[in-house]
């Protein structure tokens, strides 16, 4: 049980690494990166250990060894055990502080969900650490970058293992800060620091909801048990019990929903995520695709009973969670069509996929949401790192597909292959990872009577396939449109020399400017992620369903017996064929369009389509709404009022206060300081000097005079001793 009991080591190691890199990183031979890689590697090893131990624990609880269960589940295809014993999570906690009879704890709750998240976070963090060795080589703040990555990993893991909502809040805010630091990594350029601020402030808007919601969770538990607590298990059973009024749970769910909307880039607060692409690409892959942005989905999955009962998800009616998720799926996918920046395409795609996850939670498909989170992390990180590889070695650090890319397929074969694998996985093509998870969401949406969201999901799948095809086509096919052209001098293989030793060589040689394949430090993470993008989906193969069995949510029995939760949808062959068909047709149509087989320039000829395109290019005018209407509206009148108060009231107060202070100061100077303090100091000096001048005469320098005084003193003391005794 070492790996499960000691799971608190997993966030602790990167936290220590953060401190070490910050203090000593600059003096280390590899500028602190080695500490980061080793620490995250250790965390990854511990997470793998925890995952294996957890699976064994589940198998033990459900009877028989792992191998036996494997054989049985193949033997009895589709035999889903309903009455199996619940697997208890591993819990450990310490008292954080105690105040007024309320004891707040910090601790770990290791169950299936936490194990999955730990695995995803540490694996992707490790790959990003390795990738950044090459990608960030020679960066001005290389050490600082690694320190921030370590802090981020530690905070994300702290959030994941939290056994109470308060600790979750702490981790949540910490990842927000790290995101801010890393988006603004190159803060010398104004747009980057603007983007960092925008991301921070927009997610803070959602965090207000989280804070309110977390406070409400305390009282939900208090209503149910009499003793307030932030504990997640108690919260879930309180929300499932009938002791707490529906209104309180509804408000709590609404507040937490606001947090999800902010953090996970849901409509209408998604606008920060595309701007966050101003950060270094490894950061986008780690934070803005695979881990931090899914914190919202994780929160939804963690306290799912609150949402389930608060929003009455089981009823089959439209609820805020499913509605927001569904809108986000379509909005994100539509916006991805009009982006020229490859990273922004991926950012909108991430928004759209996060929409899928939230929608899945909203239609009661808990396992499907978490499974999609799991698979999406791999293929989206793969795509982001691939985009980084393109910009690093193929397009002179540009991300613009239309002006600096195209035709890179023959220069960057490995990046091309991994990118295509990621794209197919994202588009949901059989049998890659995205197919299984997306299909599970769709099947459950249909199963739980959410036909509308089933349709939304299918349209989203079609659009996803189409915009990703556009992205691949513009980047890798056609003619190279970069500045140096395809006939530049071929590049010397960079993998031959050590990437860190040449850290100082920020200026690349002229020959490096031709598009070329990135070196092994970049391609290896790409292939690892591609591997998972292909095979991660098999974990939840129909009738095999290991993911579902192993990483079952630990929810209170009253909740787990609700039919929607206890009996998720079975695999639906027709739906699967339909969704793959839609995705393939999306790919075909987009491909045909870019090959010139379809009529071009529709949006410039047709006024309606042109207006639609403008609407999308302007990002639905949401930024306009936020900046010019809301912010300006607040800024104008309030600022004028504040200015008047400032000029007329505060300034007067300050002026009189200033004058009064001046008078007091003058009095102090003349009377107290000059006469009192100075007189005392001068007097002491004079006395010392005068007495010194007198005593000086005794110091004749003549030895025998000193001896005489010695004898005289002895005689006097001896005489007085004789007299007084």
């Amino acid at each position: 049980m070492f790996f499960l009991d000691k799971a608190w080591l997993i966030p602790l190691i990167p936290a220590l690494s953060f401190v070490v890199i910050l203090l000593f990183g600059k003096r280390m031979p590899r500028h602190g990166s080695e500490v980061g890689v080793v620490a995250v590697g250790a965390s990854f090893a511990l997470s793998c250990g925890a995952a294996v131990r957890w699976i064994m624990r589940v198998q033990d609880a459900k009877g028989g060894s792992a191998l036996g269960a494997l054989g049985r589940s193949i033997g009895h295809l589709g035999a889903q055990g309903g009455g199996e014993a619940a697997v208890l999570p591993v819990l450990h906690h310490v008292t954080w502080f105690q105040n007024g009879g309320v004891r707040l704890t910090a601790g770990i709750q290791i169950d299936g969900l936490a194990v999955v998240m730990m695995f995803v976070v540490t694996l992707i963090s490790l790959l990003v650490h390795v990738y950044s060795l090459e990608y960030m080589r020679g960066d001005v703040r290389f050490t600082y970058f690694y320190a921030a990555l370590s802090l981020f990993t530690a905070s994300m893991l702290l959030l994941v293992v939290a056994d109470n909502t308060l600790q979750l809040l702490v981790g949540w805010e910490l990842v927000g800060v790290c995101s801010f630091m890393l988006i603004g990594h190159w803060w010398e350029e104004k747009p980057n620091s603007d983007a960092a601020l925008k991301a921070f402030l927009t997610t803070r808007t959602g965090d207000i909801g989280l804070l309110t919601g977390v406070i409400m969770t305390f009282f939900i538990v208090q209503r149910a048990t009499g003793v307030g607590s932030f504990n997640i298990i108690e919260l879930n059973s309180a929300a499932s019990s009938s002791k707490v009024g529906h209104t309180l749970i509804l408000w709590c769910a609404a507040a937490l929903m606001l947090a999800i909307v902010g953090k996970s880039g849901q409509f209408p607060l998604h606008t920060w995520l595309p701007d966050a692409m101003a950060g270094p690409t490894p950061v986008s892959a780690l934070i803005h695709a695979a881990t931090m942005v899914v914190a919202g989905v994780y929160l939804g999955a963690r306290v799912y009973p609150v949402f389930f009962h608060g929003f009455s998800i089981g009823d089959g009616g439209i609820n805020p969670m499913a509605a927001i998720g569904g809108i986000t799926v379509l909005v994100g996918a539509a916006l991805a069509f009009v982006q020229d920046d490859i990273k922004k395409v991926l950012a909108y795609s991430t928004i759209s996929q996060l929409g899928y996850m939230v929608m899945a939670l909203g239609v009661g498909a808990w396992t499907a949401a978490v499974f999609h989170l799991f698979t999406h992390a791999f293929f989206k990180a793969d795509l982001f790192l691939g985009a980084g590889s393109v910009s690093h070695s193929g397009s002179h650090h540009s991300f613009d597909m239309k002006t600096d890319m195209g035709g890179l397929k023959k220069y960057m074969p490995q990046t091309y292959k991994t990118f295509v694998i990621g794209t197919l996985a994202l588009a949901g093509i059989f049998p890659l990872a995205g197919f299984w998870s997306k299909d599970e969401i769709l099947a459950n949406a249909g199963h739980n009577d959410y036909k509308l969201f089933l349709v939304v999901g299918l349209i989203g799948a079609f659009m996803t396939a189409a915009y990703m095809t556009r992205c691949v086509y513009l980047t890798f096919h056609g003619e190279y449109r970069g500045a140096h052209g395809p006939h530049a001098i071929p590049h010397v293989d960079e993998a031959e020399h050590d990437p860190i030793d040449t850290m100082a060589s920020v200026e690349h040689d002229a020959e490096v400017h031709a598009p070329h394949e990135s070196n092994r430090l970049i391609t290896t993470p790409l292939w690892v992620l591609s591997f998972f993008a292909v095979f991660a989906g098999f974990l939840n193969f129909p009738h095999f369903s290991k993911f579902e069995k192993w990483f079952d949510p630990h929810f209170p029995p009253a909740f787990a017996e609700i039919p929607t939760i206890a009996h998720p949808a079975a695999f639906n062959v027709f739906l699967a064929i339909g969704s793959v068909g839609l995705a393939l047709s999306g790919i075909a149509i987009a491909w045909a369009y870019y090959e010139g087989l379809l009529p071009q320039g529709l949006s410039s000829r047709n006024a309606l389509l042109g207006a639609g395109r403008r609407f999308l290019v302007n990002k639905l005018y949401l930024d306009y709404l936020y900046e010019n209407v809301i912010v300006a509206g607040i800024k104008g009148p309030i600022a004028a009022g504040v200015y008047w108060v400032n000029q007329n009231i505060i300034d007067n107060v300050l002026n009189y206060a200033g004058k009064g202070t001046q008078a007091v100061g003058r009095f102090t100077y003349n009377i107290i300081d000059q006469k009192g303090v100075d007189g005392l100091v001068n007097g002491i000096g004079t006395i010392t000097g005068d007495s010194g001048a007198e005593v000086r005469r005794l110091q004749t320098g003549r030895l025998q005079f000193y001896a005489l005084m010695l004898v005289a003193a002895v005689v006097i003391f001896a005489g007085s001793l004789w007299i007084f005794t």
Partner: protein, 99 residues
């Protein structure tokens, strides 16, 4: 037991020594006067030792002799250095410590 006679002799020796230390100008004579003072002290120690029938007084006297020998060694070395620097052994000339 004639104790008082020894004590009077010792006091006489000590006072002679004090006078010598205070009045003589030559550094070597000052050192010799210090030896006289120590002789007076030794005489006291031995006399009291004998009076109480105790050898500790004599042991102390031996210690004092040893220390006195060392003291004279250092003292003469200092006198020699003073003479080398000032070309005189007159203590009135040694007044660099005058305040």
């Amino acid at each position: 037991m004639l104790l008082n006679e020894f004590l009077i002799l010792a006091a006489f020796l000590f006072c002679t020594g004090v006078y010598g230390v205070l009045a003589r100008k030559h550094a070597v004579l000052v050192l010799m006067s210090i030896e006289l003072m120590l002789a007076g002290v030794n005489l006291n120690l031995v006399a009291f030792g004998a009076f109480h029938g105790d050898v500790i007084g004599q042991i102390f006297a031996l210690f004092v002799l040893t220390i006195a020998a060392a003291e004279v060694g250092i003292g003469l070395a200092i006198v020699l250095l003073i003479y080398r620097n000032l070309h005189s052994a007159d203590l009135d000339d040694v007044d660099t410590m005058k305040g």
